[in-house]
Amino acid sequence: AQSVSQHNHHVILSEAASLELGCNYSYGGTVNLFWYVQYPGQHLQLLLKYFSGDPLVKGIKGFEAEFIKSKFSFNLRKPSVQWSDTAEYFCAVTSWAGANNLFFGTGTRLTVIP
């Protein structure tokens, strides 16, 4: 079965600091990768996705993620965080062949201090 690991459970940063959240998955085949974000009191929403092509994908609000196939990783980055980025971030993966399920990581809570 596939699994997704997010090693950082809680990250605390000051505004303008750079962010990188780790995500590793276990699946040997072709995958589709996602980052979802949940702002306080809101529903989960898509931040960015990778299906194929350029392994560096850009999402909303200045976020980007890089797919490194050899490392089974899809880390999320942002050069300069804002207080409004405080949220919980979930990495998710589904196999290209089996779209029945989206496997989620445990999430990383990001707190940005003004």
């Binding site: 459970h9 989960l44 589904t94 990581g105």
Partner: protein, 112 residues
């Protein structure tokens, strides 16, 4: 703002009660899902549906049941709630294939 609606948002009930968690979407999506999420844990798929009259169990065993009589509606039912059912339940929908999921706000269920 979400186009997928879950009610109630919060529910506290006693052991043994029957409950139904409602989920509706207005996007015409064929695929719908129920996830269960405990604090600090990953989301686990408990049910999904490809369309009307189609329901399947997910990876996490659950005593709940679902139905899909209409495209826009995917309710989840617990016949006899127990404290072990205390959790957050998230409903989602998507277009066919690997399209991104659209999530509702969730129902936080507490069984006393």
């Amino acid at each position: 703002e979400a186009d997928i609606y879950q009610t109630p948002r919060y529910l506290v009930i006693g052991t043994g009660k029957k409950i139904t968690l409602e989920c509706s979407q207005t996007m015409g999506h064929d695929k719908m899902y129920w996830y269960q999420q405990d604090p600090g844990m990953e989301l686990h798929l408990i049910h999904y549906s490809y369309g009307v009259n189609s329901t399947e169990k997910g990876d996490l065993s659950s005593e709940s049941t679902v139905s899909r009589i209409r495209t826009e509606h995917f309710p989840l039912t617990l016949e006899s709630a127990r404290p072990s059912h205390t959790s957050q339940y998230l409903c989602a929908s998507s277009n066919p294939g690997n399209s991104p999921l659209h999530f509702g706000n969730g129902t936080r269920l507490t069984v006393t």
